[in-house]
């Protein structure tokens, strides 16, 4: 039961990450391969504030989220001028740049690679309330994202995705929408990062690598681009699938590689047969 609650909490956390990623990738067409970096920033800022400076966890979470949003904006601005493919490549590089930051500069507990010792409030301290709280937050995020994409802003985002030059010709600067949504998504991802730290009790740099960013892509790729339902669906399906692998009885050293191989296969199959994912509304043909 403990374990089920734990998995459920993870699903809620990753759902938030997927929702944020879908906002920028699916709705606005900005291929971000570096979302894990923002997850890490959120996790580390929240954890550091809480563990080392004794800041109240909720406050730490809020600050972590805001700082991640700022970091998101800063990392985006120099990349705004470059297009599609090279942009994706640059965001891929961000994973490695941040990993070294985390590895070399982020605080860690003496003698270990990572950070632990969070002082969690009641709503998050034990597994059942934590599950309920993170699920509630995830639902709130989903509703918020849905409100955004069905609003006139969502229209502008999709126009930015389709033809930014035409949008400019109509008097609207697409970069403004790009920065806005990217910053918002980074903030959301930072929030998820703080919750992630609370769920795992222990964070270290290896959690926030290119692998994690690719994982996010697989979640929304499978679930469906430009679809809130898709983001949720992808996370639930894949994490559930992951868990079911434990029942296969594979020796533990094979479980990780097997998962990775499945993800790789999924990516290939998606690209060949169904680029829009399960319930997605956008098929990228670039």
């Amino acid at each position: 039961m403990e374990h089920l609650l734990y998995i459920g909490t993870l699903i809620a956390v990753w759902t938030i990450v997927a929702l944020a990623a879908n906002l920028v990738i699916g709705y606005t067409g900005m291929m971000s391969m570096g979302q894990a970096a923002y997850l890490g920033v959120g996790a580390y800022v929240t954890a550091t504030l809480n563990i080392l400076l004794g800041v109240n966890f909720y406050l730490a979470l809020l600050i972590g989220s805001i700082i991640t949003a700022v970091v998101g904006a800063i990392t985006l601005l120099p990349l705004l001028r470059i297009g599609g493919f090279y942009f994706a490549l640059a965001t891929l590089g961000i994973n490695f740049v941040f990993f070294d930051f985390f590895h070399n500069l982020a605080p860690r507990v003496e003698g270990s690679e990572g950070l632990y010792g969070l002082q969690l409030p009641d709503l998050l301290a034990s597994s059942a309330p934590r599950f309920a709280t993170t699920v509630a937050v995830a639902i709130a995020c989903a509703l918020l994202c849905q409100a955004i994409v069905t609003s006139p802003l969502g229209r502008a985002l999709r126009a930015t995705r389709d033809r930014p030059d035409a949008l400019a010709a109509l008097g609207k600067d697409p970069r403004r929408y790009q920065v806005l949504i990217w910053t918002f998504a980074a903030g959301l991802t930072g929030l998820a990062g703080g919750l992630y730290a609370a769920t795992l009790f222990y964070i270290d740099p290896t959690l926030f690598t290119l692998d994690a960013s690719i994982l996010v892509l697989v979640y929304i790729g499978v679930g469906g681009l430009a679809s809130t339902t898709g983001s949720v669906l992808g996370v639930i399906l894949l994490i559930a699938f992951n868990e079911s692998l434990r029942f296969l009885g594979l020796p533990s050293q094979f479980v990780g590689p097997f998962q990775q191989a499945i993800y790789g296969l999924l990516l290939i199959l998606l690209m060949i047969f169904r680029r829009r994912g399960l319930v997605g509304k956008y098929d990228f043909t670039e």
Partner: protein, 254 residues
């Protein structure tokens, strides 16, 4: 000249790409409530004029005025703020947005549905106007269809409507009839006559379709070999023997 204070005024524009002179020292006036057409052979530089006016690239010499205000170094997405909007020859609608969304996103205050207190009302008013515009080109039934699924002719009409939706007082239309089936051309004529002229906009259009020009244009200039070889009232110019010989050809039956 009071006319220069309104509409589009192109003052002694010159342009070349590298060593090739596109045009030299041309001046065009497109006053409000009138349609000014520019015709000429391919490669004469008609689209280049539009590109320069919209700030895509600067001219070698000359100035552009919108309602008396000089445009120089204005980035393309800022031109709408000066009251200027263009349509593209190759359409460029937003394929994954529905037809009505294409029109809505063009409107100047299209985001106010979100933030302002009267936001929902604004959005409703926008939708009303958008439907009205779509009706003008018989696209109302396709309002909720994805624009990418529409046939080219309807996409073209949609792009014209979209340019109008920006509220720009000066419209630059780049070959609005190009690629349209003949049964859709009357829609373009109606659109220009009713929405554009009736609402007092100045229109500068570049076209090959002489019939369309004859039906909607008030004045015309003929661009050839880098110069304007004739300009003025549309009927007079199109009947002019030089123009017929140089550009329209003997075959053109007036």
């Amino acid at each position: 000249m009071t006319l220069r204070n309104n509409g589009l005024y192109i003052d002694r524009l010159s342009m070349n790409f590298g060593g090739v002179v596109v045009f030299e020292d041309i001046s065009i006036e497109a006053p409000p409530s009138k349609v000014t057409a520019c015709i000429g052979p391919n490669g004469a530089g008609k689209t280049t004029i539009i590109n320069i006016v919209c700030g895509v690239f600067p001219p070698r010499a000359g100035k552009v005025y919108i309602d008396g205000v000089q445009l120089s170094g204005v980035r393309p997405f800022n031109t709408v703020r000066y009251g200027l909007c263009r349509s593209f020859q190759d359409v460029r609608i937003f394929p994954s947005l529905t037809a009505i969304e294409n029109v809505l996103v063009a409107m100047p205050n299209h985001l106010s549905g979100l933030f302002l207190p009267g936001g929902w009302r604004q959005e409703r008013a926008n939708r009303e106007r958008a439907r009205h515009l779509l009706q003008a080109v018989a696209l109302e039934s396709a309002a909720e269809r994805a624009a990418g699924e529409l046939p080219f002719g309807q996409q073209k009409l949609l792009s014209l409507v979209r340019a109008i939706a920006t509220g720009a007082r000066v419209l630059l239309l780049d070959e609005p009839a190009a690629g349209l089936e003949s049964d859709l051309i009357p829609h373009v004529v109606d659109l220009i006559r009713s929405l554009v002229k009736a609402e007092g906009r100045a229109t500068f259009l570049v076209e090959h379709n002489i019939e369309l020009v004859r039906q909607v244009a008030d004045q015309i200039c003929v661009l050839q070999a880098g110069r304007i070889i004739a300009s003025g009232d549309v009927r007079r110019v199109l009947d002019d023997q030089t123009v017929i010989r140089e550009y329209l050809g003997q075959v053109y039956n007036v």
